[in-house]
Symmetry: C2
DNA sequence: AATACATTTTCAAACGTTTGAAATAATTTG
DNA sequence: CAAATTATTTCAAACGTTTGAAAATGTATT
């Protein structure tokens, strides 16, 4: 209800000194007399002085804000990754603004635009699945604002900073694990081909087969997206040939397995609870399933976030040159569930 | 890599006109000549002029930013509620800054402080479970910045704006549903007593029993928190008496039921798959359980968020007086799962 | 007491916008 | 064609900070 805002000027008038003295006292300048400092700080406290960030930003030509754009907040991978980012950002005096693109290019452009107006000091982004053109993101770098792509990134483009889960290694490990358990017919269910890591995972699968002298069978591979219908039909395909049916599955997302298991149970597949499967993710709900995946590929999202912010901070502080493009890989970890 | 930032002044020099003309042209002032407007707008586009929000905020004495503080982003209730907020905020030209308190008072105070410095135009908050003192939040109202409490709120305090799920009604409905299915021994598992809606839910349960002439049995009530250990022991208690064991459960959070079912299966309770249960939440994961809850109490988080932002916008626009404290209740909906 | 030096405070400009009032230019009117 | 009107542009101050340079004050030295 206070109508005159408490500004430096206001404090200065109260204390009968100049604005600069007040400013310097609050910022603990060595040239300011101790007694004066105390008086100023006390008054500032009493009157609940809160420095106006807009004014400071304007003056300093920076915002101490990091922007984050991601497809959505309903995906645990992303919310977990924010933990990592936030932790290190606040530790270094930065705040974060999170914006969702809802996997829509137009919305992503809007988000980028507002973050640009807010003059964020850096941007961390997981691009939408339709992002082909990068004009809206290149703007940042043109203004000298560093951008770090994480997880979802322009795969063809080497001229950007990236932090990625080592999804090849994760998929290789998962496949290898199943091979070591004696499986010969391991199916692979991949994700939308537009998303860049889909191929890396597939390659992990292929390489594990090859390295272990198993032949590749195209009938054991199916693709789906985030839509359940498509997942079901992908699974139907895999299990259509009665003679050559898989005994294990590797899936690009764990919840595909949930659908798979449910479907197999539904059609009363003779050994639906024998099929061993592994997916990316590490959903705590696994504990509640009757027929849980045998293992999960933990992507360590917090660590991905952590690496992204650390790289970004180095770019902001010019410890790394913006032109020397970095690529950081974060290893996955196979979590074996022994219920 | 552009080192001279593109500002109004810069444009003005290029165009050989005054800064104010440029400003007014970009803001489409009627007093500016059409031809001039076109020239200015074209140049602004070509040079990628981006207005500096800090400068505007400073001048306008507002930020067009809404702050949100919530315990964490791993809880689907909160992430879903953000959808509602975001949608209406952006529609009205506001951006949002999300900050997590991690259910820690100190962190909440920090968040509040940074949002205050950022001079948000309004605040939406779900308080941490330890928030007893509200000095850090009252500051906002002292500066004329409206605050809307949502979901988690100071229950004892009537002098604040609130948007709440009608958790009483939700719990009543759930209990009633089970009664109608013939259950006589319905257990209730409540949440942390610090959280205000725990009691409302309990009252919903009690009232449903009473209205349907079922007697209340204290042995059928247990409390837990977000910790699995405690949940297990709560369930153990409920099922310790061999003679008087519940046939149905209402739980304040759905995942408690997952633990309950798992536990009952584990101890091979004679009718673990007969026990009918209902919890708050509406986790899509339910579809994958062998023994799913019979129904869910959908709390409509998007709608809660929507109501919160709408109320806040009205307060910001002074359509509602800050002193006339509002309380909005959002009804829950019972979702019956017929597998 | 005059000078030198150190300590402390203030001045003034800058950051990038907005906007009412004043100035200027262009057009109409009698 | 001068005066009155209207259209368009510019001036100048303000928003709340920061900060190097200049000014003022205080203290020590001879």
């Amino acid at each position: 209800m206070n109508n005159t805002p408490v500004t430096l000027k206001f404090l200065a008038e109260k204390l009968k000194m100049s604005v600069s003295t007040v400013s310097k006292a609050l910022n603990n300048y060595p040239t300011i007399n101790e007694y004066t400092k105390n008086r100023v700080q006390e008054m500032a406290r009493d009157l609940h002085f809160t420095p106006n960030k807009s004014a400071i930003n304007l003056k300093e030509r920076k915002s101490r804000i990091i922007g984050i754009i991601l497809p959505n907040l309903l995906d645990h991978f992303f919310t977990r990754s924010i933990y990592g980012v936030e932790q290190f950002a606040t530790k270094n005096g930065y705040n974060i603004i999170i914006s969702q693109s809802h996997d829509d290019l137009q919305k992503e452009i809007q988000s980028a635009d507002m973050l640009l107006r807010s003059r964020v000091d850096g941007l961390i982004i997981a691009i939408s699945k339709n992002t082909q053109d990068f004009a809206h993101l290149n703007q940042f770098e043109n203004l000298g604002i560093p951008v770090v792509y994480y997880t979802r990134n322009p795969s063809f483009n080497l001229n950007c900073h990236k932090v990625l889960g080592n999804t090849f290694q994760g998929c290789y490990q998962a496949t290898k694990f199943l091979i070591d358990r004696g499986h010969k017919k391991i199916a692979y269910i991949g994700g939308p081909k537009m998303i860049n890591f889909t191929h890396d995972r597939f390659n992990g699968y292929i390489n594990a087969l090859k390295d272990n002298h198993l032949s590749f069978d195209a009938n054991l591979v199916a693709y789906t997206d985030f839509d359940r219908e498509n997942t079901i039909s992908a699974i139907q395909n895999l299990f259509s040939a009665d003679d050559n049916t898989p005994t294990a599955i590797v899936a690009f997302k764990e919840h595909i397995l949930f659908d798979a298991i449910k479907y197999l149970r539904h059609i009363k597949h003779p050994q639906f609870n024998k099929i061993e499967c592994i997916g990316f993710g590490n959903n705590s709900f696994i504990n509640y399933l009757d027929t849980p995946p045998i293992a999960s590929v933990e992507e360590n999202p917090e660590s991905v976030g952590e690496n992204a912010i650390n790289l970004l901070l180095k770019l902001i502080n010019k410890e790394i040159d913006m032109e020397s493009y970095q690529k950081v890989m974060v290893d996955c970890k196979l979590i074996v569930h022994n219920d």
